[in-house]
Amino acid sequence: MPTMNIIQAVNSALRIQMAREPKAVILGEDVGKFGGVFRATSGLYDEFGEDRVIDTPLAEAGIIGTAIGMAVYGMRPIPEIQFSDFIFPAFDQIVNEMAKFRYRSGGQYPCPVVIRTPVGGGIRGGHYHSQSPEALFIHTPGLKVVLPSNPYDAKGLLLSCLQQDDPVLFMEPKKIYRASRGEVPDEAYTVELGKAKIVREGEQVTLIGYGAMVSIMEEAAIKAEEIGISCEVIDLRTLLPFDLETLVESVNKTGRAVVVHEAPKTCGFGAELASSLYERCLGVLEAPIERVAGFDTPFPYSLEHEYMPNADRVIGAIRKTLEW
């Protein structure tokens, strides 16, 4: 089985979809000839032509707005937003239009748009190449939000998204775009949406996260083990709809939970996860659920390392839940 990084895995999924679905169309800024600034659409323009791999004008609202039109017409558009920091010109189109088309048409017009966009910090990109705006979209009824942590899941989840009819925001953790490598089949396969994955089993504390934070949690779990603490690590993979059942099962076992994300803490997705777990697990919880998150600041440049959750901060939170 070949080894791929996340970009190659995404590229492989896109190639499969483009080859098997004539209605699939990729569109975005520099996605064609150039193959995308992160090279995720590399080679597709040559293979599928300029009508199906479209270099658009520089306007995110137009990329999503026209993708919506194509989708309701019957196409299967796969727009790319170059960085999730630049998704906001399209926010209205995503939140008010794409997410609501099926509902407001009484089911007459599904809107199967799968937006791909790189997300998160760790590349020295400052405010505008580092943000993690997932909570804004998880708060939007009508969307699915997916955020893989490794190449195998990236390809399988993306292929799942491309085979269903709801609009999706597919976020790709750019910090580990190339760093995360693993075996990925060349052929098509799917990873089920809405299902979390237990990455590491453990007994005392449940660590919950997604994307680039999964490897941070794993690192923390290994370090914790060295000091005699057993942690279970869960990769959410799909953020909306999220797999509460798997989380509840784990927390019922461990009695403690730490939620990790890069986005600011206030109203971050960790708040929703913690609240949902309190509703289900209050009786078994040995300590308050801890949140390790970015600061409630704009994403910084020089102090990026301090802003981002790391293994030491996760261990600090693990200790707090044990010492409570």
Binding site: A59, G69, V72, Q93, Y103, R104, G107, Q108
Partner: protein, 395 residues
């Protein structure tokens, strides 16, 4: 369809050279800027016309167009009255805009798509949207195929390719362009999309983005701006410093036309020109149709607070589209006073019958609250609905 022959202007059909159809059509020979600054018209305010300009319009087509306009006018009156009686929650009339709406949509074929703004419901019905469904949508009742999800006047009708209106101004313009891009990419051919907007919508970013995408991608789309000169209380002068809205299209490299929106023939001809051109694969057109919002913005509005209603009266008495259409039809002997009364009576009674059938239909079932959010409701929606049902069962 045969390609454009040597010596012809771009965007012109070989079979029907524009010059052969009367002096008014010299408008289409003007340079880009002159077209966008000009005002194409055929039927004067007093109903007079040059017969050479109206050879296309036989009795059948004229009566069809007129009936569509009259239907829209009478329907708006009845529904507004129902809103005033508290029977409908909301309504927005299109009085004075019937020619722009009906005679533009009349140039489409059944396989084409229509992406409306707020004032094209008449066009939707003209194209065959089921009237029972439309009225059910006004009431948001259990018969509403959009399942009571939006305020009145947001119908959606897949069988006639009528997309549903979003209340968000201008977002629909790029949807229209996207539909047209889909038509082009899928290579179905022979399909055109017509997208509408108001004058106010041209100030939104989505307008500029959509115009640019349409032009760059040469989408088979006709974008129509109904310039009714008001956006709620904001006059055109508060919306743009440009001399005309049509001029905006030129900056995007898009052919832009401007016509008297109260002139049923002028509307039809500019739209037909643009639709034919799009169908031949020659790209998009932007069209400004000049008319006047004779009614309030919506049932929630009172225009006397912000505009001089004597101007409105002038447009109502001298310029509105139905009066001059009727003068034309009477002159031609195609619609007598008695025939007109019969047509109106028939329309009104149909509307009354359908309203009577739909007004007391109950609301959609509770479960529809969580359906169509996505293909399948996710677990939280099911949980919250179950909790609600349990609560209701106890009451």
């Amino acid at each position: 369809m045969s390609g454009v022959q040597a010596g012809e202007r771009k965007g012109e059909k070989a079979a029907t050279p524009m010059q052969a159809r009367g002096p008014a059509f010299a408008y289409f020979d003007l340079d880009e800027e002159a077209k966008a600054r000009g005002l194409f018209s055929i039927l004067a305010e007093d109903g007079s016309y040059d017969p050479a300009n109206v050879t296309r319009f036989d009795k059948t087509l004229c009566l069809q167009l007129y009936r569509g306009m009259l239907w829209t006018r009478l329907m708006d009156r009845q529904f507004m009255a129902l809103q005033r009686q508290g029977v409908l929650g909301f309504y927005a009339e299109t009085i004075g805009q019937e020619a722009a709406s009906i005679c533009s949509a009349a140039t489409l074929e059944p396989q084409d798509w229509l992406v409306p703004a707020l004032r094209e419901h008449g066009a939707g019905l003209f194209r065959g949207m089921n009237f029972e469904n439309f009225v059910a949508q006004l009431f948001g009742n259990a018969n509403d195929i959009t399942r009571g999800r939006q305020m009145p006047l947001h119908p959606c009708d897949r069988p006639t390719n009528y997309l549903n209106m979003s209340s968000c101004i201008a977002t629909q313009i790029s949807h229209a362009v996207g539909v047209a891009m889909g038509m082009k990419i899928s290579g179905v051919g022979n399909q055109v999309c017509m997208g509408y907007m108001g004058d106010g919508a041209t100030s939104e970013g989505d307008f500029h983005v959509a115009m640019n995408f349409a032009a760059v991608r040469k989408a088979p789309v006709v974008l129509i701006c109904q310039n009714n000169q008001w956006a709620i209380s904001t006059p055109v002068s508060g919306q743009t410093a440009a001399e005309t809205f049509a001029l905006k299209g030129i900056g995007y490299g898009m052919e832009s036309l401007r016509a008297d929106g109260n002139d049923m023939f002028a509307v039809y001809e500019v739209c037909k020109y643009a639709v034919d051109k799009a169908r031949r694969g020659e790209g998009p057109t932007f069209i400004e149709l000049l008319n006047y919002r004779l009614s309030a913005h919506t049932s929630s509005d009172d225009p006397s607070r912000y505009r001089d209603e004597s101007v409105t009266t002038m447009w109502r008495e001298k310029r509105e589209p139905l009066i001059r259409a009727r003068i034309f039809l009477e002159k031609k002997g195609w619609l007598s006073e008695a025939e007109h009364e019969a047509m109106a009576a028939q329309i009104e009674s149909t509307i009354r019958e359908v309203v009577a059938k739909q007004r007391d239909v109950p609301a959609p079932p509770l479960r529809s609250l969580i359906e169509d959010v996505q293909q399948t409701p996710w677990w939280r929606l099911e949980e919250d609905l179950a909790a609600m049902q349990e609560l209701l069962a106890k009451q």
